[in-house]
Structures are given as C-alpha cells and as structure tokens.
Amino acid sequence: MEDNSKIEQLKKATPARIGIGHVGTRYKTRAYLDFLAAQAAASDAVFNEVPETVVEQLGTFEIQTKCQDKYEMLTRPDLGRLFSDETKAYLKAHCIQHPKVQIYFGDGLSSPSIEANIPDLFATMKAGLEDDGISVGTPFFVRYCRVNTAREIAPLLDAEVICVLIGERPGLITDESMSAYIAYHARPDMLESEYTVVANISRKGIPPVEAAAHIVDTIERILKFQCSGVELGKFV
C-alpha cells in the first residue's frame, strides 16, 4: 500500500502519462489504447468538418474562405484569411454594418470546439456586452478559417473591435479547445502583436462561461483604451 501511494502522488503532480508500467520495452495494452484514442480524437478534430447541422443549431449562417478543402486550409495560410468578392458581398448583405463589436466563429484546427464551446460562450458574451450598451454584430461561421480572416472582415463590416472564436490545435488532453483573438480596428496590414488572445477555452481549460466574462472585460478595456495586443498591455 505504501508503494502504491508513492506512485499515485507522482501521477497526481502531472497530467503527463507516467506510472504506466511496461511490457518488455513496450507499453501495456491499456496505456497503448488510451494514447491511440486521445491522438485519434485530436487528429479527427482537425480533419473532420463542422457539420452543417451544428451551424444551423447555432442559428447562424456560414461562409467559406478561399480554401476549397482541409488540405488547402492546412497548407495555404494565405488563402485561409481571404474571401472571394462574392462571399464578401454576401457577408455585407447579411450583417449589421458598423457594429461596435463583431464576433464570429471559425473552425480553425478543431472542429468539435465549435459545438462544445460556442453556445455558452457566445450567448454569455453577447448578453454581457449588450447589458453594457455595446452593440454586437451579426454572428456567422467561417469554414476553413484562419485567425487573420479578422483583418478582412473588420474593415468590410466597419467593426470597431473584432473577435474571432476559433478552434486551437488539439493536444492529447483535449480536442475541443478554442481561443479568442481580439483586435481594435483590425486591417490587412496590422501587426500580429495587435491581437489580444484568450486561449485554452474548453471544459478542461477555462470553461466557456468563465472565459466569456473575461473576454467581455477585455473587449470593454480595448474599447476604452482604443487599442489591443501589446499596446493594451501598457495600460494595465
């Protein structure tokens, strides 16, 4: 019993896969299968599509970047931030213009992150901002979405603050984590350092409702100081 508690103490100190034993030089079957399951989920999160039914349940519409498929999304970050003229016209026709804050959702590198987080995350953010008298634009979903879509969408809809909620690259601890990338007056030639990021939003990280409250506070500070990213940090 004494020995057993020592190894359990070690295991409690880290989420790393320790104390898993071995057969010869190799993994025990249980540990082997656990790893395979976590990696399969992470890989599927990247390569599976967000089902159209999920977009419908969010009550939003969908647009697509210039990428045609996941392959292009993963290999052409330049195309994953751009939209065709047709898509831009469609977006403009279906959205409120000049919102204080434009929030939208992107699959990024984790498709399950949308269904897992957006319902609680967006509802809480929208309510929080509108309670404080801040107008929120029409939400929508972007397929094959990179963070830098924000540089195209903000000028198009004339949004003062833009916030994209986008799937993160999955690890083996969770496949449904997402991040919020927020920028003041985003534009094509802005610097990477102008983004304010809230990362690790998931049931296993910062829970969506808690993250929403933090993002609302952040957006209100961005509006107050009229800047984001590294610049905003100077006002802490």
């Binding site: 100190a13 790393a16 993994y27 999160a45």
Partner: protein, 453 residues
C-alpha cells in the same frame, strides 16, 4: 556556370543558383507555400541534373543572402577553411556526392573536407542524395562533444529527458523526470521547455534538475530551454546550469525574429563557459527546424533545406554539445505528411553531421499533420540506425505543455535493444547501479520511479 539542361527532349532553363537549389529539393509543403518549388517531378529532376554539374565554387559564390547584409552568411563564409576549399572548389556537386559515398572515403576525410564547405554546398550535395544515400553518409561520421559527459561514440544512442509540465510545477516536473530516469532516459540532458519564460522559473527549474542530478549522482547535463537572454540573467543571479539553450534560424532577419544576434550568442557562450556548471568545453544546446525562416518572412526565396543547413553553419561556430532539429513541430504548412517528415529528418541529421555537429532529432508531429505515432516510431528507427546522436524521451511521447507528440521513454529503450545501442557509458553504469539496466537492457527496476523515493 550552365543553368540549362535538356531532359527527355524538353529544355529546362533556370535563372539563378538559388532557383536550381530550390527546385532540386524533394517535396516540402513550405517550399510550395513560398512559391519556389519545382512545378512538377520532371522539373525537379532537371534542376538536380543542372545542380550535379555546378561547381562547389558556384554554390559558395551565391549564398542565400548577400555577405554584406546577413551575419549568418558572414559567419558561414568566414568559418570556411580556405586551404581545404582551394583543393575542392572545382569539384562538381556530382563528384562531391560520389566522393562522399565511396567506400574508399573515410568519415574523418568527409568531416575534414566539410570544414571547407559552406552550408549551401552541404545542402546542395544532399539534394543529389536519396534517403539511403543520406543515411550511408551520415552513419560513417563519428562526432563527439563533451559537457559533463561525452556524447557520440560508437553504438551510443542517447536521449534528452523532456519533463515538460503545463505550469512548470516543480513536483510535476520532478515526477516526469524520475519516471524518465527509471527507463534509462536523460543521458544527453535533463532539459525542460518552460511554460513561462522568466528568470525566476528558469532558476527554479535549474535548481530542481541540478538537485536531482546531484542527489542521485547522475552523470549528465541540465538545461532549461528559456530564451537565451533569460538564461543569461538567471546565470547572473548565481544559479547554475550546464548547458545554454537557444533556437536558431538561417538568416539574420529570422534570427532577429528570435531575438538573437552574434553578440548575444557570443556573450552567452563565454558566460556559460566561465560561470556555468559544465566540466567540458561544449556548453551550447541549439534547436532548429525547417520552415522557421519562411514563417517569419525571412527566407529570401531560399528553400527550407538550404536555410536549415545555414542554421548548422551558425551552430558550429559555437561548438555545441547538442543540436537537434525539431522536425515536425512547425506544422503542415512546412512539412505536410510522413513522407516529407522522413525526408526532412534524414536531411537535417545528415546535414548537421556534415557540419561536424553532434546531431539529434526531435522526431515529432503536431496533430494537424498527416502523421501519427507509428510514423514517429518508424522514423526514430531510421535515425537510430543512421547514427543520430539522440532523440527526445517524453512520458509516452506526449508533451502536455507544447501539445505535440514525440518519442516516448519506452521508444528509446526499444530502439537501444533493437539496434544494440547503449546509453552514454557513465550513464549506463549509473543505470546498472540502480538495476534500471541489467546486461545492457532494461532491468528489474525499469519503469519504477519509486526506487528514487
């Protein structure tokens, strides 16, 4: 210099040496993203055909970035042994390739000649090599370096113990470290990537790893992979570590994006020689990886194979104890799938070895690549067979901080057994004392970290 060839009745005309090198490269998604890759397979072979007839001097005289504009170019060019260069400057790249592959040529001779080659030339000759060519050349180069122990040596396959933790929790890092030691991992270095890049956390982890090394009298090295300037400040507090870490890139502009310059690297090198706890003269640890130049817009239309080799040209200036490519970390924009991963890793390890570096590899992938753990196991086997100095050892290959997968503790043990390789000798003796290893294999205490408690 002739940049034209006729292949199967078609004429191919290239404009620059840089274009020939880029188009002669095996497929990498990063070169396609940069818009410099061959348009099709035959054009790739045409570029290789042209490259085969170029002279060593043609490649040296056309560096990726001009000498006047780039400190990486200056370090590479100034470090060339001119006497050796004079002897081989008129060899064609094809002749250089065949000389390297010849049974008559020894590894010592190859390393000698490579001191007269720029990194671009070393990259060029590898573009005329198939995967097994790279392995044959790499495997005959025996390179050693000494910090507290000596890495390299015949039949040695070492490992870095990478005990990363999401918030650098001291108990958590210790737990993974003890587990790794119990599988015979950590003879290259006990080296943590910190979640937070601060002087305080660097000092705290240095102390932890140093205490573990001292308490159990482990013959190895310690390192925290924070930014080089953070480690310099940590050293000034009086805290100690054996190795100084930094990521390198292949152009000045890309190095600047990493926040490094020759002044910083030189100062850190001197500081760690003087004030660090290493006994030997090799005190630097560098990481590289194809694609980092393009990701910071600093590739100068140069292919990522050439840029990676320039990292090694920069690295060799500082006589490192460890250098490893983190071959699958940059993402599918640069290295897309298993095929590209294998090719990049074999190029990197061979290229590093040709630069005289004790070369390891983080055999790894992110979950947005078309790869899985089987690919890691296959590639690690190729690399162990080719004389790669070390790989990473992680708990079941899963990095819970950086969110990617690499080789596991068990994989290192398996490869040693499969290929009759050993840990660094002093470290193996230490493992035998704890009965973690017995008769050159995992012993009765393997996998049981409780022996340390």
């Amino acid at each position: 210099m002739y940049l034209q060839t006729i292949l199967l009745g078609r004429t191919y005309q290239f404009q620059t040496v840089k274009e020939v090198l880029a188009k002669a490269s095996e497929v990498k998604s990063g070169d396609s993203l940069a818009g410099i890759a061959a348009g099709d397979k035959l054009e790739r072979v045409a570029a290789k055909t042209v490259l085969a007839e170029l002279l060593v001097s043609d490649i040296r005289n056309h560096p990726a970035v001009p000498y006047e504009e780039d400190f990486v170019t200056r370090i590479i060019q100034d470090d060339v042994d001119e006497k050796i260069y004079e002897k081989i400057k008129n060899w064609t790249i094809a002749e250089l390739r065949e000389w390297m592959l010849s049974s008559e040529t020894t590894g010592e001779q190859i390393l000698e000649v490579c001191r007269g080659l720029t990194s671009e030339v070393i990259a060029a000759v590898m573009k005329l090599m198939g995967n097994l060519d790279l392995m044959m050349v790499s495997s005959r180069l025996h390179i050693t370096a000494t910090c507290n122990t000596t890495i390299g040596g015949k039949d040695i396959f070492a490992s870095r113990l990478q005990p990363n933790h999401p918030i650098d929790d001291i108990k958590g890092v210790a737990a993974s470290t003890l587990e790794g030691l119990s599988y015979g991992i950590g003879d290259a270095v006990l080296g943590l990537n910190p979640a937070v890049d601060t002087v305080d956390s660097t000092v705290a982890i240095w102390k932890l790893l140093g205490d573990i090394r001292d308490r159990y009298e482990i013959p190895t090295q310690t390192c925290v992979l924070s930014h080089i300037t953070t480690q310099m400040k940590a050293l000034q507090t009086g805290a100690k570590a054996d190795l100084c870490f930094q990521s390198l890139a292949g152009s000045q502009k890309a190095c600047e994006a990493f926040g490094i310059s020759p002044d910083i690297l030189g100062e850190a090198y001197d500081m760690f020689l003087r004030d660090g706890s290493a006994k030997g003269k090799n005190v630097m640890y560098f990481e590289t990886g194809q694609g980092s130049e393009l990701s910071s817009g600093a590739n100068f239309n140069t292919d990522q194979g050439v840029m990676e080799c320039r990292c090694y040209g920069l690295a060799r200036h500082y006589h490192p104890f460890l250098v490893n490519t983190v071959v699958g970390f940059m993402g599918p924009e640069y290295v897309y799938d298993t095929k590209q991963l294998i090719r990049a890793a074999l190029e990197d390890v061979c290229g590093g070895h040709l630069h005289g570096l004790p070369m390891g590899c983080d055999v790894c992938y992110t979950n947005h690549m078309l790869t899985d753990q089987n690919d890691v196991e296959s590639l690690a086997t190729l690399l162990a067979a080719t004389g790669c100095h070390y790989v990473m050892g992680l708990p079941q290959g899963d990095d819970v901080m950086l969110m990617y997968q690499s080789t596991g503790f068990h994989d290192v043990a398996a490869l040693r057994e499969l290929l009759h390789k050993h840990p660094i000798p002093e470290f193996e003796k230490w493992l035998e004392k704890w009965q973690i290893y017995e008769n050159g294999k995992l012993g009765r205490n393997a996998g049981n970290p409780e022996i340390f408690l």
